[in-house]
């Protein structure tokens, strides 16, 4: 992966920058985005005629079908009821298989609302006491953990975003212990706060074609607290190292 190097840390104030550059960044962005948007999309823009036209086109055939086909509609309702009854009966005996639990999890409305890309992974992480824990992740790396009650055939809980696994949390901690900057903080008595996942998007270059493509990874954010002040370590998990360490003033702590 050919990640473009991040040049600084996530705060607004930067001690390493030329004075005024940071403030200029934000102001230039605000002003320029407004200028660009106002220029490209003038105040005379009116979507209503198009929306009105589309809604009219959509509703007309519906009314026509309903007006002509009420008898057919009644037949269809009966047919759907019969098929539905047969379907429900087929599900009644026994409990859900894990494969059915995965299907139930990935089609849950809450899951669909959270995961907006194509679903890349849907797998059962564990089954304990007839409760399956299913991890569903989309192609952008966004993930949810879903618990499915296999006996009652219902999704009982949807946890948003991946909690870092124990292994990844341990890997993040190991990186913090190894890095000389954070190990020095730990030796001075710093405590480690809640480790959280972050999703990092970068660009990967295919050496064969030279083409770039977007690539997402899960990293970890590890807060360290010492004397009422907080440092934040951003751990590149695949590389097993701290990519950025932000000091309490928002500056970046360089490697010694």
């Amino acid at each position: 992966m050919n990640r473009k190097p991040a040049t600084n840390d996530p705060g607004e104030a930067r001690s390493t920058l030329k004075p005024g550059v940071t403030e200029m960044n934000a102001q230039i962005l605000r002003d320029t985005l407004s200028v660009l948007a106002l220029e490209a999309v003038p105040a005379t823009t009116d979507l209503w005629p198009g929306i009105n036209r589309q809604l009219a086109v959509r509703e007309r055939p519906l009314r026509l079908r309903w007006g002509l086909g009420q008898r057919w509609a009644r037949v269809a309702v009966v047919a759907i009821a019969v098929v539905g009854l047969l379907f429900v009966q087929s599900l009644l005996p026994g409990q859900l298989s894990t494969a059915q639990a995965v299907d139930l999890a990935r089609s849950d409305p809450q899951v669909e609302a959270i995961l907006r890309g194509d679903i890349a992974i849907a797998t059962v992480a564990s089954v304990v006491n007839d409760v399956a824990t299913v991890v569903v992740q989309d192609s952008q790396g966004q993930a949810v953990t879903v618990t499915v009650d296999l006996r009652n055939r219902i999704v009982t809980r949807v946890y948003r975003g991946p909690q870092l696994s124990a292994a990844l949390s341990a890997a993040a901690l190991a990186a913090v212990r190894t890095d000389p900057r954070t190990s020095a903080l730990l030796e001075r008595g710093a405590t480690v706060g809640q480790i959280q996942p972050i999703f990092v998007t970068g660009e990967a270059t295919d050496p064969a074609t030279g083409l770039s493509k977007e690539h997402s990874e899960t990293w970890a954010q590890v807060p360290l607290e010492l004397g009422g002040q907080e440092w934040m370590a951003y751990v590149n998990l695949p590389a097993a190292r701290i990519d950025q360490l932000v000091d309490p003033q928002g500056g970046q702590v360089p490697l010694p």
Partner: protein, 187 residues
């Protein structure tokens, strides 16, 4: 906000006039936000139009006590991200530097010639920089600096943890900072 609630109540009763009020109120912000993300005005208008129609179809699911704007903008921003990601899957990122650069850039005509040149350079450079950002970093940047949303609000809009939003904004700012520093050195 009472006019908005009245419009939503009308819409929930099947009165399409309620949608007309919402379109009038939110269309400009939505199209502009979408445009800054997708960098294509017709596409931005199509996305916003589709989002309004979807809002009309799903208005029954909308909690009338909540403001309509964030609910709607969320839909537009996510559709715009998907559109960019779909487009990226079908073409090389190398072409990003050239796409959709605005032919005309608004400048403050009261400013002097040097300031005018700087403004035009800033706008062109920011536009080019935005085009190089991955879709989600770009969306976070637009929602922060154009729509003025907080980290938490952007996280809610993009269905992503606040820490991820902070990271994306950081990455975007870092790239801009690199450019600004280089430019400051040249002067």
């Amino acid at each position: 906000m009472s006019f908005e609630r009245a419009a939503i109540a009308r819409l929930k009763d099947g009165d399409i006039g309620g949608l007309a009020v919402l379109v009038e109120t939110y269309q400009l912000q939505a199209v502009r936000t979408a445009y800054l993300i997708v960098r294509d005005r017709p596409l931005a208008e199509d996305l916003t139009q589709s989002a309004f129609i979807r809002a009309y179809e799903r208005i029954a699911q909308f909690d009338s006590s909540a403001p309509f704007g964030p609910w709607f903008l969320r839909s537009v921003a996510n559709d715009a991200i998907k559109a960019v990601e779909r487009a990226r899957r079908t073409r090389s990122l190398d072409s990003d530097d050239e796409d959709g650069a605005p032919a005309i850039v608004l400048v403050d005509m009261a400013a002097g010639p040097e300031a005018l040149l700087e403004q035009a350079e800033d706008a062109a450079a920011v536009w080019a920089l935005l085009g190089r950002l991955p879709a989600r970093q770009r969306a976070a940047t637009v929602l922060r600096y154009f729509d003025g949303l907080s980290d938490a609000e952007i996280a809610d809009q993009l269905d992503t943890p606040p820490a991820t939003v902070r990271w994306r904004l950081f990455a975007a700012r870092a790239k801009l900072r690199t450019w600004l520093s280089a430019r400051a050195d040249q002067r």
